[in-house]
């Protein structure tokens, strides 16, 4: 099985965000691998191991973290890794999908995996846009797969713990929410080895135009703590007040 995994860098979810006009202030913003893409990579690696296939990791963007993401993918077991373009930080999901499509279209992949969503995809979800552009079958919110002959059994999560199994004929695209197993750990030494191996390939791709028809005109941070009584002081003050609240609620 020939597998492609599509990965994106997104603003670190634990960072405080600041707004600059109609976008984030990106000057000092830290990026991390989209967590769902991390699960897509893990599911891809498990399938590669089960089927004796190959896995190529693709990633978008100019952030330093993108190379780190790809080196990590190699260290974890990807056979090759490709960095697409170098000026793609603020493009929309349609442009990201178009970039991925131009990179994978002629690759003969049996399976294309990506995260089910990313926190900045205002104009659609990349995995599904890629599937629609390539006219391939697609299942999203996938929480597990198992390989069959010419098809895959995939488990899709609906909500509230309800899931359903589907058989999907390959080639196909899957939007992964959670891999069967937690994303594997890889030692820093292995990542450094990958860095030095020169296995990372940079692919020069012309930056596509944003073509989604959706334009962000303003961004703002929601009012913090609107309605909440904010407790002042140190942790002792906080613990004391929380104890009072627990007592007032009759649970203590």
């Amino acid at each position: 099985m020939k597998i492609a995994v599509l990965m994106r860098a997104v603003p670190d979810p634990v960072e405080e965000l600041e707004i600059d006009g109609a976008d984030l202030d990106r000057d000092f913003l830290g990026y991390v691998l989209n967590e769902f893409d991390d699960h897509a990579l893990e599911e891809g690696l498990l399938l590669k191991e089960e089927t004796g296939g190959t896995l190529t990791a693709f990633a978008l963007g100019s952030a330093d973290e993108v190379e780190q993401m790809l080196h990590t993918a190699i260290a974890k077991g990807a056979d090759s890794a490709k960095k697409l373009g170098d000026d793609l930080d603020a493009v929309d999901a349609h442009a990201q999908a178009a970039t991925f499509v131009s990179a994978i279209r002629d690759g003969g992949y049996d399976l294309i995996l990506s995260g089910v969503q990313a926190s900045d995809e205002i104009d659609g979800q990349v995995a599904m846009l890629v599937a629609a552009s390539l006219d391939l079958p697609h299942v999203s919110v996938v929480v597990g797969t198992s390989p069959g002959e010419g098809s895959l059994r995939v488990t899709k999560e609906y909500w509230a713990g309800i899931t359903a199994d589907y058989d999907v004929a390959t080639p196909a695209v899957l939007g992964i929410q959670t891999a069967r197993e937690a994303p594997r750990y890889v030692a820093v030494a292995r990542i450094r080895q990958a860095q030095e191996s020169g296995a990372l390939e940079e692919v020069d791709i012309e930056q596509p135009e944003n073509s989604s028809g959706v334009t962000i005109t303003a961004m703002r941070l929601p009012e913090a703590g609107e309605g909440a009584e904010m407790i002042e002081g140190d942790e002792e003050a906080a613990a004391g007040r929380v104890l009072e609240i627990l007592q007032a609620a009759g649970v203590r």
């Binding site: 999203s140 058989d167 004929a169 334009t215």
Partner: protein
């Protein structure tokens, strides 16, 4: 094109979902702006029975097809795309759910329409615009849409489901759809497994999120939960890492809880999480990020390090 609003009817096991009723409420307000009607498209085997509860729509487009006995990401999207192409509604509404996101993306691409995700509200009074939640609920964005038609994927809680539920039975109109050869076939559905701790039963719930940082720190949160006699629950990232079992997950993919007190530790408050706990009687949130959306639904909040707070409260409870 018409001035109508077309709602995708999401249904599972013969029941229309709350998310659909929320869409109908939103669609009613939008129809007043466009001067059109509200259509609801119900696709699949046995959907005629759903019209009895779809009076929130002016018309229910009933696409009965034995080929789609259960939800099929490919089949339902193809059938709905065909209806959108034939009816040319001004606005198409889908829920931003496991089912709705499959439909929304494919329908938008198939019909060459813009798609707006993560929508909190939509306005069609002067051109098309929407307000959306990005970056896991940390940012609100206003967007405009080119042209006069688009697909909107609405977040849960964007309107009142009760408003969309009113009206009794809908007026049915039978429509034909063509189901293509399917590369995706439904096998079976799985209901959640029970066992473990029932987090919906506790009067107090201690819930941890990404802020717990590593599996080694779970124990400290467990000690606090034990001191309170409360189950330990978590948001999705913790469950996905395998640090706690799936039965402990609060939110859209997990369980909905309504304890007397919900103590959220290191949980930023992504919309998917808030969906599962916002109706708790008292919500106390501790987070180091003063902008964390959890403070938007909390009744009490403290901005600080959970690793300072947890042992301090545990000591007081044990003492």
């Amino acid at each position: 094109m018409s001035n109508d609003i077309l709602v995708y009817v999401e249904h599972l096991n013969g029941e229309v979902t709350d998310a659909t009723y929320e869409l109908l409420a939103t669609a009613r307000a939008l129809a007043a702006q466009t001067g059109g009607g509200v259509d609801a498209a119900a696709i699949g085997a046995g959907v005629s029975a759903l019209t009895a509860s779809l009076g929130g729509a002016d018309r229910v487009l009933v696409a009965e097809t034995d080929a789609l006995g259960a939800f099929n990401p490919q089949g339902h999207a193809a059938a709905f795309s065909e209806l959108v192409a034939a009816r040319e509604p001004a606005l198409v509404l889908v829920p931003y759910t496991s089912i709705g996101m499959e439909i929304g993306n494919q329908v938008a691409v198939a019909n060459g329409l813009p798609l707006v995700s993560y929508c909190l509200s939509v306005d069609a009074s002067s051109g098309l615009s929407a307000t959306c939640q990005l970056y896991s609920g940390k940012v609100e964005a206003d967007v405009t849409v080119d042209g006069d038609r688009a697909v909107f994927a609405m977040l849960a809680g964007s309107a009142s489901a009760d408003d969309g539920r009113s009206g009794g039975a809908g007026a049915a109109e039978t429509v034909d759809v063509t189901i293509p050869d399917l590369a995706v076939s439904f096998v079976e559905i799985h209901e959640p497994e029970g066992g473990d701790v029932d987090i919906t039963a506790g009067e107090v719930l201690v819930a941890i999120g990404r802020g717990i940082e590593s599996e080694d720190n779970i124990e400290e949160a467990q000690e606090l939960a034990d001191a309170l006699g409360a189950p330990l629950a978590a948001s999705r990232p913790i469950i996905d890492q395998g640090w706690l079992p799936k039965t402990r997950q609060v939110g859209k993919s997990g369980l909905t809880v309504k304890p007397k007190v919900y103590l959220a530790l290191g949980i930023s408050g992504a919309p998917e999480h808030l969906e599962g706990m916002r109706d708790s009687a008292t919500i106390i949130a501790v987070n180091s990020d003063p902008q964390a959306p959890i403070f938007g639904v909390a009744h009490y909040g403290w901005v600080g390090d959970i690793f300072d707070f947890i042992p301090e409260l545990t000591d007081r409870l044990d003492g």
